[in-house]
């Protein structure tokens, strides 16, 4: 049964794209929590994506115990670890978008009475440069094989970017699994991963794979 499920051919293959997000200065700096809130209200969604979700890439080094750039700055410059951890652990599980994440972070920050001033936080934004990897999955088995070694740039593009930026309601993998195979349970298991709590791309990859394995072979 599992074999048939994994090898069944899709009408439309899954097309793997990938993206890089060249950073662009967003024209805003913050010295205090108040400035950070003000900046967060004004920057575009790409900026929130950059600072909250981009740290999953190994090229974006932040200390391993924090999940996003805001938290890092709050701890190191404003010397407020407690607030830093709350901002670090903001939820972003599906179907949350960057706009909801932005609101959640602002709400956490507004509860703070921290008046410290640190070296400036520089808001960056970004624009995606998307390219076709040329790789296609024709079955769930192939999808899983490809997920185990394709560039994480592709996984994050389909799992995170398109969904949190509002280009799709659900991540592309889950959407394809439902559309092609009505594999709701498998799709749901991927949807339940919270990408913003990862700052190691390989850990995210291995969690996706073990989640799929658990559901499919259970």
């Amino acid at each position: 049964m599992t074999k048939e499920f994994l090898d069944a051919k899709a009408r439309q293959p899954f097309e793997f794209y990938a993206a890089y997000y060249p950073p662009i200065y967003a024209g805003k700096k913050a010295l205090t929590i108040e400035d950070l809130i003000d900046g967060l209200r004004k920057v575009d969604g790409f900026s929130v994506f950059y600072h909250v979700f981009h740290p999953v890439f190994s090229s974006h080094v932040i200390p391993y115990d924090l999940h996003n750039d805001f938290a890092f700055w709050i701890r190191d410059e404003l010397h407020d670890p407690s607030l830093a951890y709350r901002v670090s652990d903001v939820e972003a599980v599906e179907p949350k978008t960057v706009e909801q994440v932005r609101e959640d972070i602002i709400n956490i920050l507004e509860e703070s009475d921290n008046k410290n001033k640190g070296k400036p936080f520089h808001f960056n934004t970004c624009r995606p440069v998307v390219f076709d990897t040329g790789i296609r999955a024709h079955s769930i088995g192939e999808l899983i094989d490809i997920l185990s070694n394709i560039t994480m740039r592709s996984i994050v593009y389909h799992l995170v970017f398109r969904r949190v930026m509002g280009y799709a309601e659900t991540n592309d993998f889950s959407a394809w699994l439902i559309r092609e195979f009505q594999a709701d349970k498998v799709a749901q298991s991927i949807s339940m991963l919270d990408p913003q709590t990862y700052n190691s791309e390989e850990k995210l990859r291995s969690d996706i794979l073990s989640t799929l394995e658990k559901v499919i072979f259970s």
């Binding site: 990938a18 890089y20 060249p22 950073p23 662009i24 200065y25 024209g27 805003k28 700096k29 190994s58 090229s59 080094v61 932040i62 200390p63 190191d76 400036p120 520089h122 960056n124 624009r127 440069v129 390219f131 076709d132 990897t133 040329g134 070694n149 394709i150 560039t151 740039r153």
Partner: protein, 398 residues
Amino acid sequence: MIEKYGEIIGESELDSVYKIAEKLKGISVLHVNSTPKGGGVAEILSKMVPMMKELGINTDWKVIRGDSEFFNVTKSFHNSLQNGVGNLPPSAFDIYNKWQEINSSEISTDYDVVFIHDPQPAGLIRFKRKGKWIWRCHIDISNPYPPVWEFLKRYIELYDSMVISSPVFGRDDLKLQQFIIPPSIDPFSIKNRDISRFTVERILRKFDVDPDRPLVTQISRFDRAKDPLGVIKAFKGLKRHIDAQLVYLGSPASDDPEGNIVYQETLKAAESVKDVHLLLLPPDSDLEVNAFQRGSDVVMQKSIKEGFGLTVSEAMWKRRSVIGGNTGGIPLQIIHGYTGFLVNTPEEATHYLIYLMRNEEVREKIGESAREHVKNNFLMIRELRDYLMTFALALQGK
């Protein structure tokens, strides 16, 4: 040349460079700067231009002309943009404009993308006829001398976008897009490639440095921004605890009268400190730089003002623990406590020198993270990919 990076960054990362380049096949790109050799920009372009050609992009590199009067003006521009204070020759702006006009008549800029490096040729934008023009700023413009910045800004605003090395150099008074692209090192150059332990020791001994005793090195011009006196002071502090040696390696700069003054000051400060080697070597002493970085237990870059400080990445690539000044682009490279240590004072530098000298396992751990950080962020292949993406975004909807 590009293929070689596959061994370092992996096939899929390399593949993405080709995939992005495919979108740009056939476009023409012109780089313009002010010197064919010497300095970081020329060093990068000498590698970057052939790599772009290899990817099927019609890339040319042209160098502007100028007399000594013009280069005196642009040198004072450079200093006043970085230091916030100015000392301009009379008629500086007229001299600058005159040479932009001369160069515009000699350099054809009929390309799809024109990439202008640094302030010296920035005024060529006045003569733009076609294409997308991008200004690549390699220096710190966070606190410029206002008259020079206001003059230059009128030109910068005419560009389609600009590139800065770090978000800390971002300008709030400009409307154009400011891409953030840090510079990079070439891991295959003489300065950075693997060399044998024999070569390292041979070169250390040649300069009377004992390879068997602890060694601290700073590779820098004799420039107050690099804080040579602070380096001597920090080393003096270390010397009270550990019998170490210091090498401060710089190159004489004939066009920098201040260089000799600072060298003399440093010499005087080092007079009473044992085991300080102040070396003045020719600018192309790449093998010596490589050897001293590899032969050191700790490398310092204790700048108090820094555009980017690529000597930091050079040493990190060699798995060295680096103590860097908390300024400019250095914090992009050194994540304090993870890929090195950032310091604000000579006393802080002394503290981390002692800490690192006493803990070999910390040095090794930091060295590994440092190498990984440079691999992911500061190799030339990444800078090439960033430039390609900047072109792609600039040309969108052209």
